[in-house]
């Protein structure tokens, strides 16, 4: 006696989300198949630690924390993450594999989510590889481990938000350069909206409530809060909703333009 399980919600979930894992696996694998992944990781490590030591004068700051390290992330991610995300859909479009992927029995949202998660995981790996910075702070002093942890969580969340934007711009074109530049500019605007220099002058032109609202849309505002060690649900929700919104836009764009 065999049970017919084909109509249970469980198997339905399985059949819809079943392709997610192979897609994530394939995407991640394809990063490491090309030298791009290694070049990216090396540049990621050099730029994040380099800015900390040289631009941020980490050693002279006499502070056993990674505050300076995280301070540069919103700026570095403009380039680093846009360059990870730019190929995501543009490459499938260029190669024509988008036609293979989207005619397999995979719902569009699973394909979009799978590709996004693979790239996010990849960024996570690069971020984890900065662990010598943690060791250094512990060697130099007695840092607050909690603050370091929230810093990493915040940076990873913010990285996801950047990535979702470049996923979206990547779905708009088969040209990776256009995808990169568009994503760079959108992210730059979102960073600048919360940049100290700009926010102080915003108040001169707009009423306080409006300038506050504008700053609330910025990566910097929310990341700074997490960076200081306070994980506020509002900041987490902010990044997650950027991701959700952008992935939804990504799905809609693909739905309407996948054939062109």
């Amino acid at each position: 006696m065999t049970l017919n399980r084909s109509n249970t919600p469980d198997s339905l979930m399985k059949s819809n989300f079943g392709p997610m894992l192979p897609i994530i696996k394939r995407e991640l694998f394809s990063y490491f198949r090309s030298p791009v992944a290694y070049v990216f990781i090396i540049i990621f490590l050099i730029s994040t630690t380099g800015t900390t030591w040289y631009l941020g004068n980490f050693y002279q700051s006499n502070e056993a924390s990674l505050g300076i390290f995280f301070f540069f992330h919103p700026w570095l991610y403009l380039i680093l993450i846009s360059s990870v995300g730019m190929r995501l859909w543009a490459e499938d479009r260029r190669q024509g594999t988008i036609e293979i992927l989207l005619t397999l029995p995979v719902p569009l949202y699973v394909a979009v989510l799978g590709k996004f998660l693979a790239a996010w995981l990849f960024i996570g790996i690069a971020l984890l590889l900065t662990f010598p910075m943690i060791l250094t702070t512990y060697y130099l002093g007695e840092p607050d481990g909690g603050i370091i942890f929230t810093g990493y969580v915040g940076s990873f969340l913010m990285g996801g938000a950047y990535l979702s934007i470049s996923c979206f711009t990547s779905s708009l074109t088969k040209n990776q350069v256009i995808s990169f530049i568009t994503s760079f500019i959108i992210c730059l605007v979102l960073v600048l909206l919360g940049w100290g220099v700009l926010t102080t002058s915003l108040v001169d032109f707009f009423p306080v409530w409006l300038s506050d609202l504008i700053t609330q849309f910025s990566f910097t505002t929310h990341f700074n809060a997490i960076r200081r060690g306070e994980i506020d649900s509002r900041d987490v929700v902010y990044f997650l909703s950027i991701i959700g919104f952008m992935l939804l836009a990504n799905i809609l764009v693909l739905e309407h333009t996948k054939a062109s």
Partner: protein
């Protein structure tokens, strides 16, 4: 198995597919013919669920593409034009990936890969990176990908494109074999291929379906259908007029050949066209016999596909 009803697809102001209706049954191999840009690929992309139609319905194996796109996609194996593949992977990794996305795991997945590798003779390149393969192998990798789940329906967009004559022959054999049990739609602009593989053909021009029939029916539309070709070793004086006298003959055309040896031996072909496509071969051959006219060859034409193709597609383009 596949039902396409009143299919319309518009891209902006351009109508790529204009009210196409047809049906394909199990065991049929349907050939899509038409000039480039006629709407063949677009129609295939709509059937596979890649792009949505502007209007019309498509039912594959009892499932509506508009309502149960995933259900339809599970039954279809699709080879897109230009045979795209994730070129940084090797052949086995790629086929395993497709099998996994189609829900196969472990031993089942490996068996499926083995099966298609055997059908498409890919064993020698199994561990090669797809990017480094020749066009012929890439085409076969894409074909293998389409068959990995042994689907009841195959949609093949120019499956023999870029293959050499031997590979083309092999591919046609495979398709013909599959056609016994599956439902296949393939597009091509090689007319000889359509005759070799398809049990039925559809000609599309400017997005409209202009002809739907078996290869024989298509051939019968040709002016040359049942025309008798007589080739003589050199031009014969007055033969044209004599042939025209035979009962049932409508007209005769003479085509002079090249002087092959400088002694006036120029093989000449006389095309004898019948009235209303009737069979006139016996009459013509009896006539030649009675007049003791030597000829190199004589045969009745089945009809010329290229002629039919030009006739229906050019007519459509001008109207």
């Amino acid at each position: 198995m596949i039902e396409v009803r009143k299919l319309v697809k518009k891209f902006g102001g351009l109508t790529a597919v204009d009210n196409i209706t047809f049906e394909v049954k199990q065991g049929q191999v349907l050939g899509f013919l038409g000039p480039n840009g006629a709407g063949k690929s677009t129609t295939m992309k709509i059937i596979t669920g890649f792009i949505p139609p502007t209007s019309g319905t498509i039912i594959v194996g009892g499932k509506d593409v508009g309502e149960d796109s995933l259900g339809v996609r599970r039954q279809i194996g699709y080879l897109p034009e230009n045979a795209p593949a994730y070129s940084e992977m090797n052949v086995r990794e790629y086929l395993r990936f497709i099998a996994e996305v189609r829900g196969m795991r472990g031993a089942e997945r490996n068996r499926a890969v083995e099966r298609v590798v055997e059908i498409t003779s890919l064993d020698e390149v199994l561990h090669r990176i797809i990017d480094n393969l020749s066009k012929g192998f890439k085409q076969r990798v894409c074909f293998a990908q389409a068959m990995i789940h042994d689907p009841p329906v195959l949609i093949l967009d120019e499956p023999t494109d870029g293959l050499d004559p031997n590979q083309k022959h092999e591919m046609r054999e495979v398709i013909r074999g599959m056609g016994q049990t599956k439902t296949i739609i393939l597009s091509t602009h090689i007319l000889e291929e359509m005759e070799a593989v398809c049990t039925r053909a559809i000609i599309i021009a400017n997005g409209r379906l202009v002809v739907d029939g078996t290869p024989d029916e298509l051939a019968a539309m040709s002016r040359h259908h049942n025309a008798v070709m007589v080739r003589t070793i050199r031009p014969q004086d007055g033969l044209e007029a004599q042939l025209r006298e035979i009962k049932g003959v409508a007209s005769v055309e003479r085509e002079d050949g090249k002087d092959v040896d400088g002694k006036g031996n120029a093989p000449t072909t006389y095309a004898v066209f019948p009235q209303s496509a009737q069979v006139i071969l016996p009459e013509v051959s009896r006539f030649l016999e009675s007049k003791k006219i030597e000829f190199l060859e004589i045969f009745a034409e089945r009809g010329r596909m290229d002629e039919v193709f030009r006739q229906v597609t050019l007519h459509e383009e001008h109207s």
